[in-house]
Assembly symmetry: D2
Homo-oligomer: 313 residues x 4
């Protein structure tokens, strides 16, 4: 595979190469950095990868082999047996896989953006009551498809009931994330998960209607309590990018809503609401999570902060 930078970009300043469309201008000190080929050496020990999956696999391995810690949003290495699929609040012990990795450095992966919010809300239920089945129907934001992604002619006044590959990720990634480190790998957990994924006219923030069947009985109060009390290593270590509280529960029926609540706690918290009994499962509720902050860049930074604080970098 040819991984060379297109000639047109080589040697350019970042601000001249980038297709920038953030609300604030390119930050000083960033815009003047020179774009270089995506190959070692880099002047850093951590490398963040948001590459397309068509090239991510090989490039990430090159950096890991060269001794770098690669934190990746791509799906290529998520199911490698020695690679953590990491949500810092959920399975930080999976970092024990790192010494097992064959690389001089390491690869750590961020789960899919629709997986993270769901698993964050499931984690306290899983730990306290066990999970037998999980059903999820998503209403996902446009930004999940990248830029330009979904045409305005498809997104306006519309729902698209299909996102390629997304249901498979939601049905499998939680099994590894909630799985158990067995000394040499991760034993997948055995929850039955069914996912139906839809694209809706929302800019950022994936909303998910979730239903769960628990292994042991729990009252509504029990569930609210474990959500409200939930706190994990990123909070204990006071990592700069960690949300103050990983889960924010709303008592108003009409909440959470993506436009109002996606940015709660720096966009890093999971919003939950509408907990109620279910005629088929035990309980149902709504989860909201920012897909490009918690679900991508912010999640990757938190992974890096966790590794740094634990002395793994």
């Amino acid at each position: 595979m040819n991984l060379e930078l297109p000639t047109a970009l080589q040697g350019k300043k970042y601000k001249d190469a980038v297709n920038w469309f953030m609300p604030s201008p390119v930050p000083d000190g960033i815009g003047d950095l020179i774009v270089k080929n995506c190959e070692p050496p880099f002047e850093s020990r951590i490398v963040f990868s948001g590459l397309d999956s068509s090239v991510a696999g090989e490039i990430e391995e090159n950096f890991a082999n060269a001794g770098y810690i690669v934190v990746s949003n791509s799906r290529n290495h998520r199911f490698d047996p020695d690679v953590p699929l990491l949500i810092p609040e959920v399975n930080s012990d999976h970092l024990k896989l790192l010494p097992i990795q064959k690389y001089g450095g390491a690869i750590v992966t961020n789960p899919n953006c629709s997986t993270i919010g769901m698993v964050m809300a499931l984690k306290p239920l899983f730990d306290n009551f066990g999970l037998e089945t999980v059903n999820v129907v998503t209403m996902q934001a446009l930004s999940g498809a990248g830029y330009p992604g979904v045409s305005g002619l498809d997104s306006t006044d519309n729902v698209i009931p299909f996102i390629s590959g997304e249901e498979e990720k939601l049905e499998t990634e939680p099994l590894k994330i909630l799985g158990k480190f067995n000394g040499s790998g991760i034993d997948l957990t055995d929850i039955k998960i069914s996912a139906s994924t839809n694209r809706v006219p929302v800019l950022d923030g994936h909303t998910e209607s979730i239903q769960v069947k628990l292994k042991s009985k729990a009252t509504k109060q029990d569930i609210l309590r474990v959500w409200n009390e939930f706190s994990a290593e990123p909070q204990a270590l006071a990592l700069p990018f960690a949300p103050g509280r990983p889960i924010h529960y709303f008592t108003e029926d009409r909440y959470p809503q993506p436009r109002l609540h996606r940015n709660i706690d720096k966009g890093m918290a999971t919003s939950v609401g509408r907990l109620r009994e279910c005629n088929i499962f035990d309980y149902k509720f709504t989860v909201l999570s920012h897909n490009t902050v918690r679900g991508a860049a912010g999640g990757a930074i938190l992974c890096a902060e966790l590794m740094f604080k634990k002395g793994l970098v």
Copy 2:
């Protein structure tokens, strides 16, 4: 209760009283009709009611007592033991309740707009394979909330994960619609249904992610066959407002979509797509139905056409 017309409207022409915002102007011959009190006598034998449920109950009874056939979109009489909750393609035999009614005329009700599309898609499965459980998560259009309904400040770039009273309707109405006429009333069927309802930025057309557990085995081909072959009394009688085919199945993964398909077959057909196996239930699929045409005015007209053709008016 005071059911008098506000003084400001009495004696006005319809075109001067109405808050008209349809794409085409008020039709000739309609605009000059005089607005009158909502009480008998009316110069018709059928009366359509789209009244608010705060007044619909009493007004509809007054007309039924005065000998009129009332076709209602309101929820007030939907669960009266002697009132059909009618989808002409699904339970036209429930019209046998009419002779039992205590009125000189009769009341027939239209189900809730989110119920109709779902039950239309379920009917062939129910008849051929039996239904044990049905799970539905909706993404409902703004027009379902009436006008002005949802503020543009709430609907833009947003999802509202709650619609008051809607989940209860979706969980109970199908039990009566798919129930059996026992000579003097309707025996509810015993399907377990769970509904989660959401409002999305779509003008018209409710999209629903549905999952079903069948009583007997069926292959994907079996299901596609019974959907494609489904035809009922409105089609046999060639009722003017009946869709040519009640169910349109799409083979493209990304279909049906509300903006593209809500108007299929005069807005009276149910669009279905994405039939696939489910890890928890047997199958899952997507349903789309026009909520103000099939789900309200058009559905009511079809009920009236059915009764007329069957000599019940």
Copy 3:
């Protein structure tokens, strides 16, 4: 230039080659047509061109040279001295250019989608009162940018105050359309036009705030009268695609609106409203026109119908 069809498309049925996303399925008899290279011979005498301007010029000339009548939506030949820039209600006499053309066949062009609605509303003012200056600020629909066109991430909750090349078209095309055939070409008219173009989150229908300074005095009633009385050759010839009335004036302050009124009269009419005096110009008003129907495909068909009925095909 290589104008060959990509190998992947050669010999395919249209329904298998097309990226179809219209509400109704590919019509019978159309879907089975075989896609062929874009070069003569074709089994028709009229050829419609919606080609990208990077290839339209040469292909259209090839067909015209081979004796075909080419009706084009592309900009390439719009300002050729012997090519009509045609709005059938406005300048059908410009078809007198056809005998002058160097081709065995002919090329006729459709103006830009934002020009057509404006010029339709200006024509009766131009004929009756003269026009000195015209100022226009547009709020244009997403479909004007083609598919996929504008990303949903750019169109949602946003206005884009720039459309490449659009202001130039609005400032120049009316000068030719309203120009005078002088026996061998078109004398441009001398109106001063200024255009500012914006993209707004609307699917179809360009809305335009227009201001005019007239050459001779006119009252508001004069203007309303010439708009309401306006009728032209397509109406006189009862062309199938012609709107019954080219201009629909709305007396309600809040009209016209793109979603409500873009489809008036088969999408072929121009909607106008809010005529009022102006502190700077003489009058200001709002114009709405369907950009892909009247502004493209429908407009091209009407051009062809006009030529056919006039015996030019």
Copy 4:
């Protein structure tokens, strides 16, 4: 007029009385404040009024008579001869009207939300080159209509070409704001202004296409220079709510855009772009300003900060 608080609200905590729908919860210390009748005494010297104009006039006078400084967003007193219509960067010298007011306290008014951004961009042109005529066509955000304001059924996929009373405000308010204090009142300036106002599907941020005819010649560079150099009393006094720079000029053709740039500089700056020559006027350009921050609450706070710092409170 009865200005009593509805019984249902009297004595309630603010958090229980308010219809809160901001992204963050009611701030601590605010939610527990007790709602009281809108009449003196209040425990403050400055009173902010965002009252409906049906009641604002009398209530604001009551407070001013009781010695309070009233900063109002309502239109009632904007054209009182002794009341400043204040944009702190533009006409802070109009505060000299305060000693002339008949009240023990004072009333100061905030201009209309669509006026503020425009006048901010005009001010350096007015001071340096003079203004003869100003033409403005607006594309205004939904939040300008309040809550619930515009129905989602009207705002989706649509433009509404009318906002009641808005064009009059845009055509008259700048004449007072840019007017001259003559020792006892304000001499209106004599610019000819024409405004056309439209509502578009944008949550916050009014976009305006503006054209100007200057009294003296200026090059494009001259204009860019006076915009970039523009700074005023709020900047000199380093008022906490003042934008660092009142005017941000964008060189990219496609900017400013409301979703990207409305929050620049705390939402208090005016974004400007697309300066270019005009066929009718001298120049045209696009202005964007946050209508509920700079155009309402934030603007009022800045007025108060200015008066406080100048020792007028």
